[in-house]
């Protein structure tokens, strides 16, 4: 199994479902926001269907990128957040020195 040991969730009968930790964070964010009433899971699901449905090139399909895009688009629709903030902060984070936050 690829990436075994890197995230290795302790599942009794399953295997690794996330390729990278950020994917589980994004999944966790969506569920937590839903549980806190920021949107309904149906609203999120509909947005996700739109994202996945608009994807045509099978060559580079990455489910969690669509999942992430669906989440940010829905948050924008709800006026809870703007993509500009995301762009600015992402640039700042990308400029950090190597090895800044290896807390795990």
């Amino acid at each position: 199994m690829e990436l075994k040991g890197l995230i290795a969730p302790p599942m009794a009968n399953g295997d690794v479902v996330f390729d990278e930790p950020w994917q589980s964070r994004v999944f966790g964010m969506a569920r937590a926001l839903c549980e806190q009433g920021m949107f309904t899971w149906d609203e999120f699901r509909e947005q996700l269907i739109l994202q996945i449905g608009s994807f045509t090139d099978d060559g580079d399909y990455q489910y969690f990128i669509h999942f992430f895009d669906a989440l940010t688009l829905l948050l924008e629709k709800k006026q809870l957040f703007s993509k500009d903030e995301l762009v600015v902060l992402s640039e700042q984070l990308a400029a950090r020195p190597h090895g800044h936050d290896h807390s795990h």
Partner: protein
Amino acid sequence: MSEESPQAIRAEALESILIEKGLLTAKAVDDVIALYSERVGPLNGARLVARAWVDPQFKKQLLTDATSIVESLGFEGGQVEKLVVVENTDKVHNAVVCTLCSCYPWAVLGLPPKWYKDPAYRSRIVMEPRQVLAEMGVGLGSNVEIQVWDSSAEIRYMVLPVRPPGTQNLNEEQLAELVTRDSMIGVEVLVGVEVPGEAS
């Protein structure tokens, strides 16, 4: 410069922004991940399967009204609006897909495997199920009918796999350990257990 992928950075940025705005806490995200990776998981489904194997009355109930059973057992994770359990036999093999997106019975199977969301699986399992199942290691005789169930937001499906041979002496708990997630999606057939002392 950071070695993280641009997508990992965007995810981190999003989480920071949402926490900053008070919409989210890191702990809430941690809790969700722990819930789905440890407590929900396919073990819930495995327990249902094992019990159905040893208890004919329970099996009947599971095949007619799985939703009520899941509700009464109070599995965490929600998202099982209506759960339908379909039984594999030596004549019929069932497999589950969501052709639209990735609807999946989380409360009984945990998080879906990566390939479940793959466009190739989602389209091909409907078009050429026998071929796809063979590629996934499930070779079925031509006399076995294949039924593919398309999950939706309203109805989620789970497969009740065939009880493997050589398991007559196992109790419910031991049986549950044999049941894999893939067998409950219908892309694996459980093989018999080797009896200690007889296997080489």
